[in-house]
Symmetry: D2
Subunit: 335 residues, 4 copies
């Protein structure tokens, strides 16, 4: 049994992890922390019978854990992770702090300097389907952002094959849990129910950096436009991706690129021709569903990709990373 | 044209009033206040083209208004109302501060002393269908609470006829706008969407005082149990009322009590036999819908009553009160 | 490994069972039927990668199954169950057909004669927490209705102790999946979203028979009023139960009745004093959450009970019954 | 007072028209028809006190109306409209039957021949802000489709100025009322609640023809990609429009094109720089809200446009057309 610690357990991703670890056949929670709610139990904060006790991070016995999940806001996370690493404990960070290897790009998008740059070199970007082998040996995994997971997995087979045109438009829609449990007017029920709100559209959202990181590796001239929208559902992301491909590629050839890229992937649901991804394909699962829609004009395609933002987009993929890091069945606790 | 002032214009009831007055054929807004947002416009706070400027209450030209609506929290409202009355301006208070004529009962339910007891005697409880004649001449109208409006109008024909048994159970369900625009975890989209939450059930909610005020006038032995529940909709209240009547009353006799009580009422929708009130009967209208359901056991009935909590349950009834106070068509601006 | 068959696999309860059995560590699906969709796969009907093939019931190899779940409408179910029993296969029926031991009461509520009365004597009403010992040896289990499960488990500790007054009012609220996947105007998104609809209120809903069956066993004078309401959520039932108890009972004594009745129950979440059950306490779990609220007037209480109507209210409890019937860990596949 | 007839009054657009005409100061309903519900009243079909009687179209006194609204499905509408025109009554058709002047293009998109081609020449496409002068004298107005209204009004100032690049991507999101009241699995509450569904994406939705009609007039090389998505709200369309403009245009110059195109338009809400359109900007109003967002790369813009699909996207614009046709205040009954 793996011993697991969770730092920042009372936000939506932390709570989801508590739930996932409780059902995991080969892992158990040994401690969980919350600065705002130390001394309380999870059942004091959420409608659940779960009586997990919360402590301050300073009081957590780091070394009792084989692996620690960090569910802290960016900037706050990097130092906590460094302490775990200094104690020799493997870490999975759900914040953005170790996703971008170049600290200057990090600072540019997050407006704060990176104070733990020595850890950046060892951090592995935990997009499991793409970086599986690096994750296996990693001491520090940077768990990917929710939106980039849908966009990157949705386009990676095309990008690595060198057939994807530079201009990519990602029109993404996310449930409200993606905005966190913190109180803000935009998450007030009356403000978002029966509403739909575009925000940070175009080239303003920080998650673009992760799309450029993964897709840009294969496409130096990538020009991504990314438009997130908040929709009145609890969970789920749907990305509608407008792309151009080499117009000589047949529809079957495009499909074959996905088939070979994702053969045997337990968490990729490649939809049959004619179908598009919906939230319901993936909510409450760790899957990404991907639909391939060719347009009448040669070379123009729409890729639809959906996921549960709290599972494959956050805590589910974090557990998948844990499974890979410790040589467990990759799907353990996730089906 | 009536000149209207609105104090506390940025909460849901204040914003609703701005909208209602803008469409009212015989009234116009002359000023609106907000302590938290003075200097801003409504369109800076809500997704609307409405450019109404907000000022501090201290800067509002009280006397330019023929009537002032107060949309402040209880306790805060009473002093502001007193200033308007001192300036000779008629007032409609949407808070609870002038609803209960007995300051001791007020203090008992609201845990704060009443500092303007001299105004309590002149205040009229503005339940239009019941107090129409007193409202016409009133200088100060206390606009009823949202829940009590549904319960009181739903049962008044029975109470005044002396046929209603003392034990009344009101199981009420309200949309989230009833909890206001203030940020709290219970109004966070993810917390209440796909959820339903009973709160202050039994004999704990302050609105009971208004039910005892109106129904208790006819029923000294009234024993009310009141259970509000929050449901994931923006607007609307549905009260399911479990009552006992004189078992010798025929179904037609019961229906006739409602017919005669509410003959010619524009805003009462008495449903045909066999129908129950739903939210959709009244949302976006100033109506109350009332359904009468007899049970097989003689004397047992269920009354269902619905309303839009922001209209008949608050701002709509406030405009109805204004219409009555100034001798306008009672439905002006409300259909 | 238990071999499982599912009859009527394409409605919400059947689909939920497919999902539950797929994750069950000691059971596997061997066949599934659907008259309307025979020849298709589940993934042709639902947004899922599940490729389970559907056949006609007539083509299903009954005897290959150790246990068959029947997810058919009432009246249609009884004959299909009889065929399984004739083939010697144990059966769990999710319809109402075998819940009521008296065929006259069945006919009275369901307006159709019972054609398999010989099976009624052997059928066990599968309310696991109450009938655990009978279920263990049962060949035919009648899985309880969704509403009665919340009401019966919410009141049983009081009824069996003989302290519950005869007059019980159950104001229940259910998500829309309870109305099934069949197309009807009342389940159209635009009709029920932002709405709330009471239906069959008072003494008209068939589920009353199951409340009288279980609670009435201890209370010959039980007078139940039951009012279901449809609310705009996918899953979940909340029952607000208005009851009278022996007024000399202390609050602690009442709580102790629940504690002793449900000691060690994995799926009963008895809430601490001061808390009420919400949908979120139980949705996506097989639990029932129960809150105990005393009113100021001695002897008057409100019990709140919630459950997921598709899990503890249907398919989850069906799996719990299977676990009991075959001597498995009662929680297998349910946590 | 204008006398109004409504054909097909029981769908969502017909019901909305009944509501709008009831509040219109210069129009009154004289008859309404429904083939499926003739003999019933609106209050038998909807939760409303409205007792409007429904008749068969054959029994409707066409000539008593000054204007008739047709709320029928396409193909069914054209003949009914022809009868009204033969009777000399002016007509506003909410179907697609008279929107496309070229019957071959109609047949190509709608898979049915146009049987009333003689009326196509006189029909005016009723996009009020663009065709105001033609509408004034029209005998037959083809009310625009819901999606095209948002796209066409969102881009028209750019198209007519000749600055819009040929490649336009419209990612649109619509509430479920846009799919009509007819029962279909995709409108079942449980199927679309907590879900989001792309459909007919790319170049498959019939409304593309209307975008090509209006924008294509100025842009012979227009290449539009249109992707509608169903979202779990009752009302509202949001179109996120990805476009390229002449890169030498300043941001102010682009804004000025909208200002001059829509100066004095009562129903266009041009948002300030930095804001994007949300559903809430326009739901329950007849407005279109338009936000202009420049991207960092010169010439790339995102236009967001929202509307209420049942008002400006259907019945509201139909009333606006009536107002224009009969020389009334264009906003009468719409504010």
């Amino acid at each position: 049994m793996l011993n697991v610690g969770i730092v920042g357990a009372t936000g939506y991703t932390g709570y989801e992890l508590i739930h996932l670890i409780a059902r995991h056949p080969q892992a158990r929670l040994v401690w969980a922390t919350s600065e705002s709610s130390a001394g309380q139990r999870i059942c004091d904060l959420y409608p659940t019978p779960d009586e997990t006790q919360l402590s301050h991070f300073d009081d957590a016995p780091l070394a009792r854990a084989d692996v620690i999940f960090f569910c802290l806001p960016h900037a706050a996370s990097m130092e906590a992770v460094a302490r775990a690493r200094a104690a020799g404990v493997r870490a999975i960070d759900l914040s953005a702090d170790f996703r971008l290897p170049d600290p200057q790009i990090y600072e540019q998008w997050y407006n704060t300097p990176h104070t733990q740059t020595h850890l950046l070199q060892t951090a592995v970007y935990g997009l499991c389907e793409i970086h599986r082998s690096q994750i296996a040996g990693a001491e520090l995994v940077a768990n990917p952002g929710c939106y980039p997971t849908s966009v990157n997995l949705g386009l990676w087979p095309l990008a690595r094959a060198g057939v994807l045109g530079p201009r990519v438009i990602a029109d993404s829609k996310s449930g409200v849990s993606g905005a966190g449990r913190k109180l803000r007017l935009g998450s007030h029920f009356v403000e978002i129910n029966e509403n739909m709100v575009p925000y940070s559209i175009g080239y303003a959202h920080r998650h673009i950096a992760e799309m450029e990181l993964i897709l840009g590796r294969h496409m130096p001239d990538l020009q991504i436009t990314f438009s997130p929208h908040l929709i009145p559902v609890n969970r789920g992301i749907l990305s509608t991706l407008y792309i151009e491909l080499d117009p000589t590629l047949s529809q079957q050839a495009v499909r074959d690129l996905y088939r070979s890229a994702y053969a045997d992937e337990a968490f990729i649901h490649l939809l049959p021709a004619g179908q598009t991804a919906t939230l319901r394909h993936t909510v409450n699962s760790n899957r990404v569903a991907i639909g391939l829609t060719p347009l009448p004009r040669p070379g123009q395609w729409i890729i639809t990709a959906s996921e549960d933002n709290l599972l494959k987009g956050a805590s589910g993929q974090a557990v998948q990373n844990m499974n890979l890091m410790f040589g467990l069945d990759e799907t353990a606790g996730l089906v």
